[in-house]
């Protein structure tokens, strides 16, 4: 199934795009999505980014559904 990624911060630079669609297995969890993202974009692996699904920050155990909006939000530190 497909989810829609919205990519913020340094993750957007790593992925080279701000939004994209991403294929995950049916009933994939957020944790599985993280692993798949790290495979596609290896530099995301160590980043400790937050994930929000349909505008709700979620735990890694949450199960994704088709066409979910998944926001990838790494920390930023500038002031």
């Amino acid at each position: 199934m497909t989810v829609r990624l919205l990519i913020f911060g340094i993750a957007h630079e790593i992925a080279g795009k701000r939004s994209t669609t991403f294929e995950v297995p049916d009933n994939a969890t957020v944790s599985e999505l993280r692993s798949l993202l790290s495979l596609t974009y290896p530099q995301l692996g160590p980043l400790s980014f937050a994930i929000a699904v349909n505008q709700q920050y979620v735990e890694d155990s949450v199960i994704l559904t088709e066409n979910d909006e998944v926001a990838i939000i790494p920390p930023v530190s500038g002031g």
Binding site: Q43, A52, Q55, I73, P74, S77, G78, G79
Partner: protein, 374 residues
């Protein structure tokens, strides 16, 4: 003293008239502002609009923590300062500017770096903390100190074209404590991966936008008017105008904060190194004999390899990143060198840069292994 006992001079009433006449704000909110004390940590890009608007709004006491001096490169976004301030301590330049804007505000300057030693002592004196710092160690320090001292932490942070705002550690009307920074970002990113403004740059108007949103949250926290961003996290992209307000909650597994730590070390800025996975020679021998296949990689130099080797794949330390495709991701991979130092470096590099999580360091290296065999 209760805010209800706060009085205003004729000049103050004239100055704050446009606040006082707003329905649901009125004199009571203005009294709360005058009774309040806010600590602004960092008087840079975010601190500039934050300080100007908090002072203009009539916050009674404003503390400023900064140890920096005004630099010409600050003026592209730090509208608090002018050319005559270049070279002056930021807290003193800020105090002078605020005095010129609103003499009814009591400005307290802390011309120091906020550290684990002084943070609680400084923060304890204030009702609200506003975090406009420019690095991860201080972000975690401010968060943890606010959690320990029980202060709301009005958070904003920026990077290039992007800003984030929230209110952390805020006790709402229901008496429930809202989430804190570590509920969202439990651990900092590896050092060097997320640049700050000095390294990555920032659009000058961005801290203006985000810093005024932060000021707005401070005013709501103090006055109780409206709904703060506690439990919500606002993200703004100035280029696409994509905005998201995410619901955030406390995480049950966020470790309790019991004391302030060494945040430079925590964020890996200091030499102290994060632990990697290690195995002993005994475990290594068991792994070699087990049915589960493993990959073994030797990161020494070719000359050393020619002299003696254990049949591992040779990838010298200097080329591990370039040859990362040869390293398996679906099996346990044991790295070794002569004594274990270079292989630890190789593992850190691969974990930090490419997200490997299946790498093990052979403790004592090939030396310990050969000793064990003989």
């Amino acid at each position: 003293m209760s805010y209800k006992d706060i009085t205003f001079s004729r000049e103050e009433l004239a100055r704050y008239n446009r606040h006082i006449i707003i329905p649901h704000f009125g004199i009571e909110a203005q009294q709360k502002l005058k009774a309040a004390s806010v600590l602004v940590v960092g008087s840079g890009g975010l601190g500039s609009p934050l300080l100007l608007y908090l002072a203009a709004a009539g916050v009674g006491t404003i503390g400023i923590v900064d140890f920096d001096v005004v630099d010409e490169s600050n003026l592209q976004r730090q509208v608090l300062f002018g050319i005559e301030d270049i070279g002056k301590p930021k807290v003193l330049a800020a105090k002078a500017r605020i005095g010129n804007l609103n003499p009814h505000v009591n400005v307290v300057t802390h011309n120091v770096q906020l550290t684990s030693k002084n943070a609680l002592e400084i923060i304890e004196k204030y009702d609200v903390v506003a975090d406009g710092t420019d690095n991860f160690p201080t972000r975690y320090l401010v968060n943890d100190a606010c959690v320990l001292a029980g202060k709301p932490n009005v958070y904003a942070s920026i990077f290039q074209f992007e800003g984030q705002v929230s209110v952390f550690n805020f006790t709402g009307n229901d008496g429930e404590k809202g989430p804190q920074y570590r509920d969202l970002f439990p651990v900092p990113p590896p050092p060097g991966l997320v640049p700050n403004c000095a390294e990555g740059g920032v659009l000058g108007v961005l801290p203006g936008i985000i810093g005024t949103l932060q000021a707005n949250e401070v005013l709501k926290v103090i006055t109780g008017v409206g709904e703060t961003l506690s439990g919500r996290f606002f993200v703004f992209d100035a280029l696409s105008f994509d905005t998201r307000t995410l619901k955030i909650t406390k995480r049950p597994n966020t470790p309790a904060i019991t004391e302030l730590i060494d945040y430079e070390q925590f964020c890996g800025v200091k030499a102290a190194e994060r632990k990697i996975k290690e195995i002993s020679v005994e475990e290594f021998i068991e792994w070699l004999q087990a049915p589960e296949q493993i990959q073994v990689i030797d990161v020494r130099e070719p000359e050393e390899y020619r002299e003696v080797n254990i049949g591992a794949l040779l990838i010298p330390l200097a080329s591990v990143s370039a040859q990362k495709e040869k390293i398996l991701r679906d099996k346990k991979v044991v790295f070794h060198c002569k004594m274990g130092g270079r292989s630890a470096k190789a593992i850190r590099e691969l974990e930090d840069q490419f997200g490997f999580d299946n790498l093990y360091n052979l403790r004592g290296g090939i030396t310990a292994y050969l000793e064990r065999l003989s």
